[in-house]
């Protein structure tokens, strides 16, 4: 009897908690969209300066590391492709492979994962610390909306920064592949460039960019959600920052799968 109650109680608690979490996430999404797109039209204003500052922080300052990683990944991808394609004597198709995969898949994914580590964690830590030191309460008592003041600037900056970074990352990744293929494998530069241009369609860019846009939403909202969940002191901030990065990467892969499936046909 007690085992039965235990099982039912356990499942019930888990499902209830999941439902509460879902409800809180819906409220967060609703609030964020409301304060980003609807309230500014009603004359409530947007914190542009803060959004620009965050854009610099998330976007411009991430450029060196995103560029470096994308360049290296491009090179690695080219070498692996050459290894496979050499058997068929099709080395010139390395350009197609690297180009399409970079634009459709790896550039959005690598950028998103880097931004999760770099900016998603920073969002959680910032909001979490503000929560611990009662700064969020202070905003509310002043009659200032925490979503408007803290979430919206980050949200705007993120959804604008990540597609830009993705495009630059894709170009650098293709250049990384070019560098390896031309200087290491010894393919003609013109062949590589021509094949790249021929193989990449607008549709590929559309896939990559729409993906990265949704990755940006995931990174920002997970970061914010985990930040507001912080309880206790410094330990809580650390715990939730870890959790933010893990959740974010998991959801990014999940969103990636869904989008790849949608654009597969």
């Amino acid at each position: 009897m007690s085992a039965v109650t235990y099982v039912f109680g356990y499942t019930g608690r888990i499902s209830l908690n999941a439902l509460y979490a879902l409800a809180r996430i819906c409220v967060l999404i609703n609030d964020t969209l409301n304060w980003t797109f609807i309230q500014p039209l009603r004359g409530k204003g947007l914190r542009w300066r803060s959004a620009v500052e965050h854009f610099v922080q998330f976007g411009v300052n991430s450029l060196p590391i995103v560029g470096l990683i994308c360049f290296l990944i491009g090179g690695i991808m080219a070498m692996q492709s050459v290894y496979l394609l050499r058997a068929f004597g099709a080395t010139q198709y390395v350009a197609n492979l690297v180009g399409v995969i970079a634009v459709r898949e790896l550039a959005p994914l690598m950028t998103a994962i880097l931004l999760t580590g770099r900016s998603g964690s920073a969002i959680t830590a910032e909001i979490g610390t503000m929560k611990v030191s009662e700064e969020i309460d202070a905003l509310e008592v002043m009659g200032l909306n925490p979503t408007k003041h803290l979430v919206v600037p980050k949200f705007l900056a993120m959804i604008l920064a990540i597609p830009c970074l993705t495009v630059l990352g894709a170009l650098i990744m293709i250049f990384g592949g070019f560098a390896v293929t031309v200087w290491v494998v010894g393919l003609e530069p013109d062949v590589y460039i021509n094949n790249t241009i021929k193989s990449i369609k607008i549709r590929d860019f559309a896939t990559g960019l729409s993906k990265s846009f949704f990755f940006g939403i995931v990174i920002c909202l997970v970061g914010v959600y985990r930040g507001f969940q912080v309880r206790g002191g410094a330990e809580g901030v650390g715990h939730m920052t870890t959790s933010s990065v893990v959740t974010s990467i998991f959801l990014i892969i999940l969103v990636d799968l869904v989008f790849t499936y949608l654009f597969f046909f």
Binding site: T129, S133, E134, E135, D137, A138, V141, G143, L144
Partner: protein
């Protein structure tokens, strides 16, 4: 000092629960306009929870809180923003925004809630900082200030919108006696200069004696004493007496029980 009874905050049958645990249980009191009202009690008696309810950071389980006649427990977010423009709050750890300078902290509510020119806001910020004795510190970051200065800056920020009521959460916690006394004097000065209503949560008897007009005393979520300090000192309630006499809990009765709880034989 004498007052015309003019209630500005009315708390009726306030019940607050965290899950199954009742933290405040039927609290009733009124704060009159222009007085310094102290919420007194031991640690964990629910005084911080009461304060969070008064400023609307938490919603009670039942009961009502009226500020200027409006019940803040049932109003919409929009209406609450309007009420909050007339409230100021000083947090225990001052809760200054660490990413902004002291001046920007004070200017923030003015920039967001008023259509004043930046030059006017600048002047007002300077006036508020001067008022709390922090003139010339507007370009410092909160991390560059000492604990007492942070509290003063927090007070300047709370005063920015010229509020009617100001709430203080443990104003002298973590400060040395001299700085704490300075803050008490400041609380008194604010109240007298601007006819501010002040609600102070504290457990420091020394500062209660200096600033309090009336006191409410809480024990385990219930009101055990309400009135002026003199009235409370006449109280026959054992906890109130113990609190004022600064006596520890009687341990002798519990010793046997304590040993039993250690050996795990308390159920026999």
């Amino acid at each position: 000092m004498s007052y015309v009874a003019d209630p500005i905050i009315e708390v009726r049958d306030l019940v607050v629960r965290y899950g199954d645990r009742t933290v405040l249980d039927g609290v009733n009191f009124t704060v009159n306009r222009g007085e310094t009202f102290v919420i007194l009690g031991g640690s964990g008696c629910g005084k911080s929870t009461l304060l969070r309810n008064l400023v609307g950071l938490m919603r009670p389980y039942s009961g009502s809180i009226r500020i200027n006649g409006q019940d803040i427990t049932t109003m919409s977010d929009q209406e609450r923003v309007e009420v909050r423009k007339k409230l100021g709050m000083c947090f225990q750890a001052s809760a200054l925004f660490n990413s902004m300078s002291v001046g920007d902290n004070v200017a923030l509510p003015l920039r967001e809630h008023t259509a004043l020119e930046e030059s006017t806001i600048d002047i007002m910020t300077k006036i508020k900082l001067e008022l709390v004795g922090l003139g010339g510190f507007e370009n410092y970051l909160p991390s560059e200030l000492s604990g007492g200065m942070k509290k003063r800056a927090g007070l300047a920020r709370a005063m920015a919108m010229d509020p009617e009521i100001i709430f203080y959460d443990e104003p002298s916690a973590g400060l040395d006696p001299i700085v704490a006394a300075g803050l008490d004097a400041l609380i008194r000065k604010m109240q007298q200069t601007f006819n501010l209503t002040s609600v102070v949560v504290t457990h420091e008897m020394a500062s209660v004696r200096l600033i309090a007009d009336r006191v409410v005393m809480l024990l385990a979520g219930r009101v055990v004493g309400l009135g002026t300090l003199d009235e409370l000192q006449q109280s026959e309630h054992p906890f109130v007496k113990q609190f004022f006499e600064r006596r520890p809990d009687d341990e002798s009765d519990n010793r046997e029980e304590f040993i039993r709880s250690l050996t795990g034989q308390d159920n026999d």
